[in-house]
């Protein structure tokens, strides 16, 4: 397929791997931060192609996986109300909260719908003035501008039956939290290509200065990731640490300025709990005071909902790249996509689910991780 097959070419991929093998003189530990990148790595078996010393660990970049338990609880509580239509992106429906998930709320008669864009929510709200339409807004900086736009437009139109449960999270604070951990093993990052398409990569220069390690903003096709890995290893071998942009066909230094503008108009930075990691200061986006009338959390009085997350599995360590999914004794046995013990097994972008879905035969064949 045009514009995609070019980025999945076996010959070029083998060439990059050969160059990587030539340049790498010692083992390196790299992390891809974005769940979409984890998905590609597993789906195309890129970890299988890499020279033995290059280890990839999978970061907390799946917005579905890191949405906190209490946010899911708020969503299921709101969705259970007879006057509410809750709309969300598909993956969120299976994520378990403390007691239930949105699929079960739907089965019990709750009006829960999957959409591809928040503007569909606006359309639905306009057409159904009797319904309270709540958009469950999850995601990183990538999805935030479109969600901000929906609220901005609702305010402009005076659409009173539309609101948002905002659970956006930000990537740079998460990287900072990971690198600040005394147990950090990561020596270089593949930066999140979609997030940087929106935000640019100025913020990542601060991280490089602060922690002295290279970041290469990478794309999502196999050749994008292989090239990003090669660029990282080259920097590491040359003892350099700068931000480089592999994903030039999409990412610019400044990013998408109109998107950033609407984002800043509607949202403000807030502290946020990450499932699997815990609280990270200034790592989320919530609605500004001027948009309080569209804040579902306030409208439905769920601000007080909290939930303690029990320590059942090693997802925290997986999400921080301290362990691989296969290091978990429950992986593939007591913990599967049907019965996930932890968030990374729930979404197809979660590291555990990606391993389970695409890689477990290789694990079974070698008998090792």
């Amino acid at each position: 397929m045009k514009y995609l097959d070019e980025y999945r070419d076996e010959k070029i991929a083998r060439g990059i791997v050969a160059e990587l093998t030539r340049r790498a003189t010692r083992p390196w530990v790299l992390m891809e931060i974005c769940g979409g990148q984890t998905h590609t790595l597993m789906r195309y078996g890129i970890d299988e192609m890499l020279p033995a010393g290059i280890e990839l660990v999978h970061g907390p970049g799946c917005p579905v996986c890191v949405t906190s338990l209490e946010m899911i609880d708020k969503a299921t509580e709101i969705a259970s109300r007879p006057d509410v239509t809750l709309i969300s992106y598909g993956d969120m429906l299976r994520v378990p909260g403390s007691h239930t998930d949105l699929l079960h709320v739907k089965a019990r008669g709750g009006d829960v719908r999957v959409v591809y864009s928040p503007t569909e929510g606006l359309k639905f709200a306009r057409a159904n003035p009797g319904r309270k339409v709540v958009f469950f807004a999850v995601g990183f900086e990538t999805t935030a501008p479109a969600n901000a736009m929906a609220v901005w437009q609702a305010k402009r139109e005076g659409l009173r039956n539309f609101s948002m449960l905002a659970c956006h999270v930000l990537v740079p604070p998460a990287i900072r939290a990971l690198l600040s951990s005394p147990r950090n093993r990561v020596q270089g990052f593949i930066g999140p290509g979609h997030v940087c398409t929106v935000m640019g990569y100025r913020e990542y220069e601060d991280l490089v200065r602060e922690f002295h390690l290279p970041i290469v903003v990478g794309g999502f096709e196999p050749l994008d990731l292989l090239e990003a890995i090669l660029m990282l290893v080259t920097q590491l071998e040359e003892r350099r640490a700068v931000v480089e942009n592999q994903y030039v066909r999409s990412v610019t230094y400044e990013g998408n300025l109109p998107a950033q503008k609407v984002l800043a108009e509607v949202f403000e930075v807030c502290d946020r709990k990450w499932r699997g990691i815990g609280g990270i200061p200034e790592s989320g986006l919530s609605l500004r005071e001027e948009y309080a009338e569209f804040d579902a959390d306030r409208i439905f009085g769920t601000e007080g909902v909290t939930a303690d997350e029990p320590a059942e599995c090693i997802s925290a360590e997986v999400l921080q790249g301290l362990k691989k999914p296969t290091d978990c004794s429950a992986f593939g046995t007591r913990c599967t996509p049907e019965n996930p013990l932890g968030a990374p097994m729930v979404s197809s972008e979660g590291a555990c689910a990606a391993y389970y879905q695409y890689r477990r035969h290789a694990i079974a064949a070698t008998g090792t991780h």
Binding site: I46, Y116, T143, R183, L341, Y358, R360, A365
Partner: protein, 353 residues
Amino acid sequence: MPPETKLDVALNCPVPIAARESILLGHGSGGRMSGDLLRNVLLPALQNPVLERLDDQAIVDVGGSRIAFTTDSFVVKPLFFPGGDIGTLAVNGTVNDLAMGGAEPLFLSLALILEEGLPLDTLRRVMESIRVAAALAGVVVVTGDTKVVEKGSGDGLFVNTSGIGLVSSEVQLSADQARPGDRVLLSGTIGDHGITILSQREGLEFESAIASDTAALHTLVADMLRASCEIRCLRDPTRGGLSSSLNEIAARSRVGIELKEDAIPIREEVQGACEILGLDPLYVANEGKLLAIVGPTAAERILEAMHQHPLGRNARMIGTVTDSHPTMVTLRTRLGTSRIVDLLSGDQLPRIC
């Protein structure tokens, strides 16, 4: 690795909802949840050797004849879509379930569940489609039933068809017949039907030239059986797509199946829609395609026969049956690496980014 020390940030993890006390949409997906429902709730009540074969149709002896018997319900939304409607699906779907057993389809029943308020014009259009599809397939609708439910208790129109056909004595097709060395043949492009339906659903408007592939496959099957008797198993990969059918065959025959990614034909529009929506075409439904597991020496001959038939022009050999990794389906990717093609748990949900 150094000995594990307690992490410096709070550990947390959700406990899952393991017990499902009510029906979820995923139970109808054709994936693992459907299988669980079948095994745990439906089959225990009905144990018998014919049913337990779990093929697309039952084959029973009646007065010395081998009769193929099957039933299928159709709940598609929207009722009309490019390439067909619920009526064409209801005829072709049941004809295909018979055909996958190697049967010559003969008679259908038709049961309609109508929701109060359904425009009569809609029903007339669907009946006309049923008439045309049955005539094209050479089957006769010989019995039927109509029920009306209150507004809100149905979704406009649900259709059920049952069908019977005759199977000749030398044809023995079943999902437990695959053996290492066999070849996997596919009659054409995958994902056309599922993506067509998705593109028509409310709230997801994208324009495309894709149309449903709904078609009756029994004449293609007849041509294939004439070319060789070394056909072990046929399946039409409907809901759950290619992956579900192949996983079922791998599990029932206790063999592995290895696919080659670049051999699987996919229309560019379907591939594009899947890329945008975050779906995998291997899991998207088809309504006019078949998978055949065939003996290695007969594969070329059968493929040639398929190419001669209008519904098999794009047929390809897409993989082989192997004795490594039994019950598992794997895919050799374009990059030369290998990955699992797993049975999905429930419905394929669009990914967020």
